[in-house]
């Protein structure tokens, strides 16, 4: 086994990572897990390089495995079997967390790296009508905002009223049924929501119909349960003494809800709606079925096909045309724009919550 490197500042913080004291014979120094891990990584890098198989992924995988085994053996010799097992499993769980985070880091890195290459002024300010192997994504950006906006217009009133029902009025079988089926509804696959919207509009408008509003209806099916869930949570934490104080003043129930409960919960409601929009704005499958693919700008949700960023990205990947790389670049640029929209919505949601949060205690 390689000798562990000396302790440094970062290593000292591991004291909190270690299990409670409980001595059995000796105790490993507090830097032992990090030291062993570092030693194992250096050892693996050197060994793999010597064999000519060096890659970062292999080094990390073997380094973590050898580090865990080393700490186990070391701890078993000094502290006994039970503490050794505790240390090994703690390190394994921490490594599993690192494994779970690796895709997130890789994904964000790749989207930014590849997406930046396709970004340009043209990407945001022109559509792709009549352009062979080029053009921008203005139509897709506008379409994304219109479709998601209409979905929010449908979902927010229904969702918040339903949450008010659940929290303020509901009792008996209807309440129980609604609670249960809202949970079930969160599990509807997005493609099924799209097929539902298509089937609904086909009955009235005939086969082959594709419009922006159909996409909004499909997205509403996905968005309503998210809105209800979050609205119900924030209505639940509005303290009852506020309601009672209002009733004591003779205020009718509906006015109590409209003027006391909703304003108190306002920040939480807005946050929930923002996060719900962020969740549906990147949906692809239901829009592929309902709003279709089109190259030119269309901002009217009630007429004709409408492009959006997710479907745009998919289409640029799927049918790249002659200039393959340029097309892939545009797909990544659309992905980057989409992630940016999602992140902005999430950040706004948190800011609103911090800024307007009412103390509820």
């Amino acid at each position: 086994m390689t000798p562990p490197p000396p302790a440094d500042a970062a290593v000292l913080s591991t004291r909190s990572l270690l299990a409670g004291e409980g001595h059995r014979g000796g105790t490993l120094p507090s830097w032992a897990p990090w030291g062993a891990l570092g030693g194992a990584l250096v050892f693996c890098a050197a060994a793999l390089a010597a064999l000519g198989w060096f890659t970062i992924a292999l080094t990390l995988v073997f380094g973590a495995l050898i580090g865990i085994v080393a700490v186990y053996a070391w701890s078993r010799a000094v502290e006994g079997a039970r503490r050794a097992k505790d240390r090994a499993i703690t390190m394994a769980i921490a490594s599993a967390f690192a494994v779970a985070m690796a895709p997130l880091i890789s994904l964000l890195y790749e989207v930014v790296r590849r997406g930046v290459q396709g970004l340009s002024w043209e990407f945001f300010t022109s559509d792709a009508r009549g352009v062979v192997g080029g053009g921008g994504a203005e139509h897709a950006i506008v379409g994304t905002l219109v479709i998601a906006g209409c979905a929010a217009l449908i979902s927010v009133p229904i969702g918040i009223m339903a949450a008010i029902y659940l929290n303020e009025y509901g009792r008996g079988p209807l309440r129980r049924a609604l609670t249960f089926f809202v949970d079930v509804m969160t599990g509807i696959p997005s493609i099924v929501a799209g097929l539902f919207a298509y089937a609904l509009f086909e009955l009235f408008f005939g086969p082959g119909i594709q419009m922006g509003i159909m996409g909004s209806v499909a997205l509403s099916v996905l968005m309503i349960p998210i809105v209800i869930r979050s609205a119900e949570e924030v209505l639940k934490i509005v303290p009852n003494h506020l309601r009672e104080a209002s009733y004591a003043l003779g205020t009718p129930k509906w006015k109590t809800i409209a003027k006391v409960v909703l304003p108190t919960a306002f920040a939480g409601l807005v946050t929930g709606v923002m996060i719900a929009i962020a969740r549906i704005v990147g949906e692809t499958a239901p829009l592929l079925v309902t709003t279709g693919v089109v190259d030119s700008l269309n901002a009217n949700p009630f007429q004709g096909r409408m492009q959006n960023l997710a479907v745009y990205a998919y289409n640029e990947y799927r049918s790249p045309g002659v200039m393959k790389q340029a097309s892939y670049d545009r797909a990544w640029a659309a992905a980057l724009t989409l992630i940016a929209i999602v992140m902005i919505l999430n950040v706004i949601a948190r800011l609103v919550y911090r800024r307007y949060k009412t103390e509820t205690r």
Partner: protein, 317 residues
């Protein structure tokens, strides 16, 4: 707040008691709430009804009229198989990881950074599925090619690694990995919730008896969270079964039924099949796709139903 409206006087109370203007306001508001509640239930019923109506022509049509010239059952069966294979594979990969992630956040990481780590995991859920698809085909797939080659050489005697290993990385294994990443935040959110609710007295009791942290987790936290983790896994499975774009982009499809995870020839999934074929379909082919959607709806509904039942039962306890 309108001050004058909230002050009380005898007249208003009388009006309220005798069903005057105020009662009307209450009635309208509560009716609106009930209407919203009923709308949602109607929507759910509507999803089922419209899928049945539009899918029905395909269910009754003769084999020769359907897209591939075979009966609907033999059309949908391999797709349902592919759907379940991808979903179960994703669940097998994601659930242990999700439990580890939840344990790490609730019991191992310093409390100071635990919240931030929670946000990071939630971020995984915020990323649109189309981006997972692009990442899978351009990044993870190519990176997995040498690994799959190695699996074929060393573990080729197992049917699941039979090969021949794909050279593009568009395999069921890669799809399973990507789906696992996508459902990880769902499963770990449920697990986190229940792990952090483990009664303190149980945990402290275990440690007072001299248990190490792992022994405490194994004897108190894991048994306490077991049923919730199972239902969380079912929720994750439901999501994986219905995931569309990542599968449609990554998977190279041939249509057969096989457990071979690393080859170029894979069964498609219901959702991906709809996304791939819908834009070019018309007539009865559309009805057939809607009917497969109905099958998917039934499968995910059953999965979610079971998950919610488990949660509801454990909440009563």
């Amino acid at each position: 707040m309108a001050h004058f409206d909230t002050t009380t006087n005898a007249g208003q109370i009388l009006a309220a008691a005798s069903g005057g203007r105020r009662r009307r306001g209450d009635r309208i508001f509560s009716n609106a709430a009930v209407v919203a509640a009923v709308t949602i239930l109607a929507l759910l019923v509507g999803v089922a009804v419209f899928l049945v109506t539009e899918g029905f022509p395909a269910l009754t049509a003769s084999s020769s009229e359907l897209p591939k010239g075979e009966s609907f059952i033999s059309y949908v069966a391999p797709l349902a198989f592919g759907t379940c294979l991808a979903g179960v594979l994703a669940m097998i990969i994601a659930v242990p990881l999700a439990i580890a992630v939840a344990l790490f956040i609730t019991h191992i990481a310093p409390a100071r950074i635990a919240m931030t780590l929670g946000y990071l995991v939630d971020l995984l859920a915020a990323i649109p599925s189309i981006i997972y698809g692009l990442w899978g085909i351009f990044v993870l797939g190519p990176a997995a090619v040498p690994v799959m080659k190695w699996l074929e050489e060393k573990l080729g005697f197992l049917p699941i690694f039979e090969g021949p290993a794909s050279i593009t990385g568009r395999t069921m294994l890669v799809v399973g990995l990507v789906l696992a990443v996508m459902i990880l935040p769902i499963v770990s959110a449920v697990a986190r919730e229940v792990f952090s609710q483990t009664p303190r007295k149980l945990q402290e009791g275990a440690q007072a008896l001299g248990a190490t942290r792992w022994e405490m987790i194994r004897t108190t936290v894991l048994p306490f969270g077991k049923s919730s983790v199972i239902s969380g896994a079912m929720l994750g499975l439901g999501r994986a079964l219905g995931e569309t774009m990542a599968v449609a982009i990554i998977l190279s499809v041939s249509g057969g039924v096989t457990f071979n995870l690393i080859s170029q020839a894979n069964p498609s999934t219901i959702a991906a099949n709809v996304a791939l074929n819908f834009p070019e379909s018309s007539g009865l082919a559309i009805n057939a796709l809607i009917a497969t959607g109905l099958v998917l709806f039934a499968i995910t509904l059953a999965t979610n139903f079971i998950a919610r039942m488990i949660i509801a039962r454990s909440e009563v306890r």
